[in-house]
Amino acid sequence: MKFIELKNVNKTYSTGVTALADLSVTIDKGEFVFVIGHTASGKSTFIKMLYREEKPSKGSVIVGGVNVAKLRNGRVYKLRRKIGVVFQDFKLLPKLTVYENVAFALECLGLKASEIRPKVLKAIEIVGLKEKTRSFPHQLSGGEQQRVCIARAIVNEPKLLICDEPTGNLDPETSKEIMKVIENINKEFKTTVIMATHDKEIVNRMKKRVLLIEHGVLTGDYLKGSYKSHESV
């Protein structure tokens, strides 16, 4: 079942740089997809388009039945509520505890405190941070901070989890653990996961679908792919 569909997407920035050229791809519900490519290959633009941080210059981007390209500014928040985003730099609020950081996502949506509490605790448990609920971000390791970021992304039970280089700042061991967490979310909750990454080891080990973007063009789409299949990257 199609969940994400990009048709002939072009993106040219106001500086004249073309980030994506005529990109078309479909992703099914519950899929786990890696997006790989060099720095400045356009994979970040691709990822950002899915949660409407960027708008395509041409073409359509359909996420969960909504044409994101045509979404009015005032309605973007409705799309974002269905999507969880995990960042390379975590983007946690330094003055809030782990619990508060995760709860923040739900508070913004105006949920009742009694509704927020069980959801937050469940999300924290999924990422395995039950013991650190009351810690502040600076008291956590990089891996733990990334877990908080994942908990915040999934607390509203999104249909789509977008990860932008989630292991970029982590050592290989910690990266493995983080990937386990994300894989579990994908398996258990049937959440569609799209992950941009540079990490060859992870991609090669996990044997998931791989989209290769080079110079703004989709040059490869491999089911059960790996970096090995195109050593040039």
């Binding site: 928040y77 799309l79 269905k82 609020l93 923040f104 949506l109 509203n156």
Partner: protein, 297 residues
């Protein structure tokens, strides 16, 4: 319900963040305090200047002399006609006998002169007060056209000069106050921008987790309101007590008895309210402008 929860949280978060970002909030509050204080003092001065010029203007009147042969019916008719002229505030009649009595009392040499006459040589008169000093000339001209009017004068040359000076003074004070308010708005807005700049991550995260733009703006607007109101507290207190004390010490006059100060009661409270309102509005508006910058999409 949801809306109320979001509003409630906005208010709670606003207070929380004023205290959590204490040094930055303090900078904004102090900035508001200092600028609002200047605005308050300038409003007090401007209001007093305008009040003085207005009260001096209102004392200007047209003196109308009536021809000797007018009957009392003519005079009553004339009075009713004058009262109907546009901008006329008050018409007061003074008979020639009253003039005679007043003049005799003022100086005994007048009474000696009067004794030389068989009848009263003076004329009956009206004094006309106008609503707007600028209309003195127009009113005088219309009065002159009426029957039985011998003359209508208001000291044209001197009054004209005084009025043009007053006009400039009033305009200058208004311009000074308005430009000070703009400067205040600019300064407060900029300090609040600094406060919000340090929290752009928070705004970014709120956007990403799906807060509506309104829900993002609200806590900042409330925070701006809190900063504006807190910043106006000292100016408000200084305005109220300072003016009341100064008024008492000066016995209600500034330098000469010509410049009468506005009585403090109610006046200071209006000014205080205005200052607080300005603080609140500028605070909210400043926050709103600053947040909008980070709500790009």
């Amino acid at each position: 319900m949801k809306v109320f929860r979001i509003i409630g949280r906005s208010i709670r978060d606003a207070f929380k963040s004023v205290f959590r970002n204490f040094s930055l909030s303090m900078a904004s509050i102090l900035c508001a305090t200092i600028t609002l204080m200047v605005v308050s003092i300038s409003i007090l001065i401007a209001a007093n200047i305008n009040d003085t010029t207005k009260s001096l203007e209102s004392e200007l009147s047209i003196v109308v002399y009536i021809e000797q042969d007018a009957t009392s019916d003519d005079i009553t008719f004339l009075k009713s006609k004058m009262e109907k002229i546009e901008n006329v505030d008050k018409v007061v009649y003074k008979s020639k006998d009253e003039w005679k009595k007043e003049m005799s009392e003022y100086n005994s040499s007048f009474s000696t002169i009067f004794e030389n006459y068989d009848s009263n040589p003076l004329l009956d008169s009206f004094s006309i007060n106008v609503k707007d000093a600028a209309s003195l000339n127009k009113v005088a001209e219309q009065v002159r056209k009426l029957d039985h009017v011998k003359s209508a004068n208001y000291g044209e040359d001197a009054v004209g000069k005084i009025l043009s000076v007053f006009d400039v003074v009033e305009k200058v004070t208004v311009i000074v106050v308005i430009s000070l308010i703009f400067v205040t708005a600019f300064l407060i807005t900029n300090t609040i921008k600094l406060t919000i700049y340090s929290r752009r991550n928070e705004i970014e995260i709120m956007r990403l987790v799906g807060s509506s733009n309104t829900a993002i703006k609200m806590p900042f607007v409330v925070e701006g309101f809190v900063i504006g109101v807190l910043g106006s507290l000292i100016p408000v207190i200084v305005t109220i007590y300072g003016y009341i004390i100064a008024y008492g010490k000066l016995h209600g006059y500034l330098i000469t008895e010509l410049i009468k100060l506005i009585s403090p009661y109610n006046f200071v409270f209006y000014v205080a309210l205005l200052i607080m309102g300005l603080g609140a509005i500028i605070g909210m508006f400043g926050s709103l402008m600053a947040v909008r910058k980070y709500l790009k999409i």
